[in-house]
Amino acid sequence: MTSEWLTPSTRSELIENLVSGVDRYNPSNVGILEDYLYHQIRSEEYDCLANLAILKLYQFNPDLYNPDVVINILIKSLTASPLPDFNLCISLLDERPINSQLDEPDPLPSILPLLKGLHGLLYRCRFPSFWEIYNSEQLSVLRDNYTVEVAGFENAVRAVAIRAVRATFTRISSQRLGSYLDLSGAELSVYIQKLGWIVDASTLVVTIPPNPDNQIEAIVVQESVKLPQLTKIIAHSVAKA
């Protein structure tokens, strides 16, 4: 399940070479990786390791730093929750020297706390609060300048919620599901239909198909003795015979 994360099928050979080879340290390749990031943003693809490679170059070459790229990387990694991608990106954001010469004021210091807050809500499965805060007036700066450009951002957030719901529930009320997805009415029905989940027409309760995580069973684990455990004893007997 991690192989798609390690090497997304959408990653080109050029990018693969950059991610896996020493070429990843070459500052002149940053443009290729940044272009690839914007490609991910437009076409709903995601490649965590390639984006980390950009942050690595920024870490070593502060003069390459581009706050918009960083913010976009963080936005993309946000919806990988509960995988640790967001934290992995933050880990690479070294303290920035105060004299960094940018033409415009750096937007990252003001955006970063907002993103961290959103990440906390997603990681803690507080989906209704996430939507409330995400849609608030205070976050219009994030929506209008950044997430609006990220194709399918809201659906990616919904996918996070769906992953949590799928693992935890066998049945869930439409209303609750709707509050997690920030959808209601016809939109919600369409969304549920696309998932292939079934809604009971009278009670409006959604049934989630069985999957390895939402089926429980009390198991008694019995010990099973493997041959290697017995080799010493058998060898001893044979040696004596």
Partner: protein
């Protein structure tokens, strides 16, 4: 600067220049030598100075104890002859012995001073300085000259290894090779930490740092490690070996460098070194990615040097923690902690024993954290030791709630690697650096935090605590759920004095916390980053609209292990008994009736043996 950067990705063809540039930039030390030896004839004053210096040197030379002089001569001889046994002896025991005796609180004699003893052998002097500076770093307080010179000396050493005409003939014990790489990274790490504290620098230091150029820059350190890996073709070697290629094929693949043990081991150790550098820099995925060819098992060549073995597992385990892969972290720590325990009787005498037990102690702390986050029964023995050492913190962590966070924080800060900032404060920009110094002075006077570059470990701590903070309710929830097989969400919310919707969301967190990506059986030989989703908790639950259903997996009693262990023990006791000399009663009873009693004892003995034989015979017959 730009040229220096080019080096790292331009792989082999540019290698020759790379390290040269590093040395050229770090020519600080060469100037000193220059004054001493070359400028003699022209000015009287200079001659006078030189003579004075010469006399001072002679005086210093005569101060060196004779045993140390002969030790150095002997050491040099061993290196010249590539006599591994003698080198090992001098390195592991002689050096430490004389350090304790004469240099516990002072530097060893400068390399220039002992140069006549070794015929000015430049290679030996480089190796000598390697030891000299390592001693300064570990026992004394290195000053800025030491820091710059040790970098320059490391560059000279790597330059000699990488840029001579073909592979060098030198051979060194594996332990030393590991120490070279390990120390190189250690000095880089302490330099970065030291460099980031602007306010404590003297004007001279500020000037030197401003002109320091690539000294201990991240790029130059990575450059050395990657160059060693490429020169030794270590990844190709490991792959070829895994594919079961013949010795001849491997020799052809790895080329003239990779065939030599010196380069091969340096290659191996550089991989581990890279893992460590990436962890210091906070890049946990890349850390595990560079390890992707290395088999993490007890047979791997890097385990031949215990310090390397322990360091590898420590850094790998830590990466897994930061990737939220607690079961993998637990497995990693358990493996190596068991190894350390088994090895204890052998390595107490090693000069690295202290270092190893310190690392082990930190791993127990990390293990305790992981164990609280993802309880498992992988190894009760290690778990018990961890609980013994960190009992108070462990109790708080596993109970969850608000008390847990300080305990996590305490153990994390104690056990985490030293994190560094990749880039220096702007020493080359006088205005900016003055602003920083003034700012920090002001901060200090206003009694605020006096850090100039924020401590990078704080950033990682904050991330870790945010992860952990999300799970703080889990232990409480779990303890309630354990009492039921099904329970209404509303009722559970009432127990916890919580809002029902909040509770349901918390349950999703709990579900999330009981799942983790982990390596599973059959993944041997794949990247350490590979894994599959597994269940980590023995308690499982599911929500059907508003009803929580719970199922707990139990582990049946285990008998087999007990019986196997005791059968083995009995077999051993039986063997011991059999190989013991016969008891002496024959002699004791001898005076009364010597002949019958001896006859008796033989008679008594015989049937036993015969009986055993018969028993075996009958088993065979059956």
């Amino acid at each position: 600067m730009a040229q220096q950067r080019l080096s790292i990705w331009n792989a082999e063809e540019d290698l020759e220049e790379d390290v040269d540039i590093g040395i050229a930039m770090g020519n600080y030390g060469q100037n000193v030598q220059y004054e001493e030896s070359h400028l003699q004839p022209q000015i009287d004053e200079t001659t006078l100075l030189a003579m004075q210096q010469h006399m001072a040197q002679q005086a210093a030379f005569s101060q060196i104890p004779d045993v140390v002089k002969s030790f150095i001569v002997h050491f040099h001889q061993a290196v010249l002859e590539n006599n591994l046994a003698e080198i090992t002896l001098a390195y592991e025991s002689g050096w430490n012995k004389y350090t304790e005796k004469f240099y516990a609180k002072a530097e060893w004699p400068e390399a220039e001073l002992i140069a006549p003893l070794v015929n000015d052998d430049p290679i030996f002097l480089i190796l000598y300085r390697e030891l000299y500076y390592r001693h300064v770093y570990s026992r004394l307080q290195p000053n800025i000259d030491d820091r710059f010179h040790s970098y320059e000396n490391s560059c000279e050493l790597f330059n000699y290894l990488l840029n001579s005409d073909g592979p060098v003939e030198l051979e060194l014990p594996e332990q030393w090779l590991w120490d070279i790489i390990d120390e190189f990274i250690y000095q880089y790490q302490v330099f970065c930490t030291w460099r980031s504290k602007v306010s404590t620098k003297t004007p001279d230091e500020l000037m030197m740092l401003a002109e320091g150029g690539p000294v201990w820059s991240s790029y130059s350190v990575l450059n050395v490690l990657y160059s060693l890996m490429q020169k030794s073709k270590i990844n190709e070697y490991i792959t070829a070996q895994r594919e079961g290629k013949s010795a001849e094929e491997i020799a052809e693949i790895v080329g003239e460098y990779g065939q030599r043990p010196l380069y091969r081991m340096l290659g191996y150790f550089s991989i581990v070194g890279l893992l460590r550098v990436h962890v210091h820099l906070g890049d946990f995925t890349l850390g595990l990615k560079v390890m992707e060819n290395v088999e993490l098992n007890q047979k791997s060549p890097f385990t031949r040097v215990t310090a390397c073995h322990v360091a590898t597992y420590y850094y790998v385990g830590f990466c897994y923690i930061m990737l939220r892969r607690y079961p993998d972290a637990i497995r990693t720590f358990v493996t190596v902690l068991n190894f350390i325990m088994r090895m204890r009787q052998y390595h107490t005498r090693s000069y690295q024993y202290d270092q190893i037990s310190k690392t082990a102690d930190r791993m127990y702390a990390l293990f305790a954290m992981c164990h609280a986050l993802s309880p498992s029964r992988l190894d009760d023995n290690i778990a018990n030791i961890a609980k013994e050492r960190y009992g108070e913190q462990y109790t708080k962590m596993s109970r969850g709630g608000p008390d847990a966070l300080p305990a996590y924080e305490e153990l994390f800060l104690y056990a985490c690697p030293k994190f560094i900032t990749a880039n220096p404060p702007p020493y080359d920009d006088a205005a900016a650096i003055n602003a920083l110094i003034n700012a920090s002075a002001e901060e200090e006077s206003s009694a605020a935090a006096s850090v100039t570059q924020a401590e990078p470990s704080q950033r990682h701590l904050e991330l870790f605590l945010a992860d952990v903070g999300a799970q703080l309710q889990v232990p409480t929830l779990r303890s309630f759920l354990k009492l039921y097989t099904s329970l209404g969400a509303k009722k559970l919310a009432n127990f916890l004095d919580a809002d029902e919707e909040e509770l349901v969301q918390e349950m999703m967190v709990m579900k999330q916390a009981s799942r983790s990506i982990s390596r599973v059986a059959g993944m041997e030989g794949t990247s350490l980053l590979e894994g599959q989703m597994i269940t980590t908790s023995d308690m499982n639950f599911v929500i059907d609209e508003n009803m929580v259903h719970i199922a707990e997996s139990t582990i049946g009693r285990r008998y087999a292990g007990w019986f196997i262990k005791n059968t083995e023990r009995t077999q051993k006791i039986l063997d011991d008994l059999k190989s013991m000399p016969l008891p002496a009663p024959a002699k004791a009873s001898a005076p009364t009736a010597s002949t019958p009693s001896t006859g008796d004892s033989t008679v008594q003995n015989k049937p036993v043996k015969a009986g055993a034989k018969v028993a075996w015979g009958s088993v065979k017959a059956a």
